[in-house]
Amino acid sequence: MSKEASSGRRRAGDAWIIIPAYNEERVIGSVLSDAALTGHRIVVVDDGSTDATADVAAQTAHVVIRHPVNLGQGAALQTGIAFALLQDAEFIVTFDADGQHRAADVARLIDALVAERADYALGSRALGAAVDMPRSRRLLLWAATAFTRLTTGLNVTDAHNGLRALTRRGAARLNLRQNRMAHASEILEQIANSGLKYVEVPVTVEYSSYSVSKGQRSSDAVDILLDLWLRRLQP
């Protein structure tokens, strides 16, 4: 951690917000306007969108990285993290593109990293609030959290929250190989294996009909479990 970070003083340029996006032209503009209020640098990773996501994002984001083909959210996150590390980012924040997260929570996550001297600050809607969360999603999240606790040993309250902050050291320890939705579990597994400190921070997640339609379905749980199992069979 840098001198400035460890002393609690931060410059806006120290933190980079990574926003993976795939066909989000409807909402990416307002999400970026909100995120821009933090004063941090914003990187949108356009994951091979077929709509105008990249063009809309370019109006506000500092950088738009474009995957030539659609690879998945996990791959987009890893790309954004790798780019931010190349730019000497001190803090990296991951932020969803579907409008579920509040930019105001970003500062709380980074503050928690500094105050707790942690390398990972994980947003938790269980500790904060989940506005208009569908019942089926609540059940799915409960199951995912229980599974994560069992398999990683991490005592987390929220397993699949896309809002998290990492220090440079913490980000460098991540190497996401799960391209699709299983990356959320993979991140927690790698955090557990890193031995670095993590903290959970209460955040608010707001569900809308749009975000629900773009988010995970209950049936995705089977795909995620299969992906995690197959990954273990690979060298």
Binding site: R66, P68, L71, A75, L86, Q87, L230, R231
Partner: protein, 122 residues
């Protein structure tokens, strides 16, 4: 006799394929060779398939062969799937390299001092 010749040809094809794969995946080559050779034996000595089936608790030799075939097919599918995932990882690494190189060049270009303020790169 005709079906035996057809099966024999196909199984010899598997043996040749396994031989060609011996350097890339020795375990798969070995497993395929042993399986194909055993199958060749049972094609020409079907009575022994029935003895094996009785020993394994399956009523008919042909049923035993079908069960084994299903298991082998599943293992082959799994192996192919893992190979596809490895290929996807290579594609991901390549796509990421291209995307980051391109974005870094644009960002560096846009970040050069110009009129006293930084421009955005897109």
């Amino acid at each position: 006799m005709i079906i035996q010749l057809i099966l024999c040809t196909l199984l010899l094809g598997v043996v040749v394929y396994a031989w060609s794969e011996r350097r890339r995946s020795p375990a798969v080559a070995m497993l395929s060779s042993v399986t194909a050779t055993s199958a060749l034996y049972l094609v020409w000595v079907p009575a022994h398939a029935s003895i094996l089936a009785a020993w394994a608790g399956v009523s008919r030799g042909v049923d035993l062969v079908i069960y084994i075939w299903v298991v082998i097919s599943v293992l082959v599918l799994l192996n192919l799937h893992l190979k596809l995932r490895s290929q996807l990882e290579l594609i991901t690494a390549l796509a990421r390299h291209i995307a980051i190189t391109d974005a870094a060049a644009r960002y560096t270009e846009a970040s050069r001092p110009s009129g006293g303020h930084e421009q955005k790169a897109a």
